[in-house]
Subunit: 167 residues, 2 copies
DNA sequence: ATAACTGCAAAACATTTGCATACAG
DNA sequence: CTGTATGCAAATGTTTTGCAGTTAT
């Protein structure tokens, strides 16, 4: 079945991602600010996908006072260390999810209700390798989304039940 | 090698896409305005990918007076009849390409110079069918991009030759 | 000390919207 | 005629930026 946004975080994992951020900052001669670690913590306390503004709101709720600018800056930083992954689903805002210790996966999205499923198929890896070979381009990442209409009875935007399904 | 944005348009093809638009408008009881057909023509006169603003600019240059709003509205309309396909590559603006009479393909993008290649692999169709079966979701479309670094000598944004590659 | 980071608000950007006018049916 | 489409400009919503003040090192 579809797993959503990775496993619940463990203490060991939290320590590990903090270490990764810390090392990256050290290597890049950037500062270890409390804001950066607070944002990292909140990202790893979040199950599933989120956007920059949701993350900002969640931080405010918890009393962590950071600005939106810092949230965006820090997300870029975490992107650089692969501690988050960014997706561009619709043409709307970017969504993010934790990037550490979670298998590569792709997304399946219901066009009516926006329900989101995750899947993984090894053939994609094979395609990637073949494309890399043919075009002589070192592929560093990919992004695959499939769009369709889900069968949920309660899918809020389905064409009215019992009618014909002409899209 | 990579084909970019489909074949040169023929008269027969132009007539056919005009017919498709015309039929769609008739079916939806919408008006056959000159703007809509002018935009369709310009889309099909365009080789490769373009964004809404490029299309708008090209129309202005040719003396076709349409507003940006109409360009956006018409692109949505053409999307509905599958006469154009929309892609969301970066997080920047959407890009479009002609959707009629051109095989389904996916994209390979150089992260440095944004050079864009197209490829097609039948295994993707197989993945799509399997995912559809597993999740019981009728898949209507997909979007796959691979990102990497191309080997072009003149790739404008390659890490400077001979230097270290610290980003 | 001092350069990097932050918060704030303004700017930037693509896209959408509201409304008065034009025009296809 | 009549309602749909258009053009214009203002609004929207997300992300970026400039700058003055803070703070990690």
């Amino acid at each position: 079945m579809a797993r959503r946004g990775g496993p619940i975080i463990t203490d060991a994992m939290r320590t590990e991602v903090q270490r990764i951020l810390s090392e990256t900052l050290k290597a890049r001669k950037q500062r270890q600010t409390p804001e950066r670690f607070a944002i990292l913590d909140e990202v790893y306390a979040t199950v599933g996908h989120f956007d920059a503004d949701e993350l900002y709101a969640r931080l405010q709720e918890k009393g962590v006072r950071v600005s939106r600018a810092t949230v965006y800056n820090t997300l870029d930083l975490l992107l650089d260390c692969n501690l988050v992954v960014r997706h561009q689903f619709g043409s709307k805002q970017a969504t993010y999810e934790r990037g550490y210790s979670y298998r590569q996966h792709d997304h399946l999205i219901c066009l009516d209700c926006e329900e989101l499923f995750e899947f993984c198929d090894p053939r994609l890896q094979a395609i990637q390798e073949m494309v890399q070979e043919i075009y002589q381009i070192g592929i560093t990442s990919h992004s695959l989304q499939m769009y369709g209409n889900c069968m949920r009875e309660n899918c809020p935007n389905r064409p009215a039940a019992g009618r014909d399904s002409t899209a």
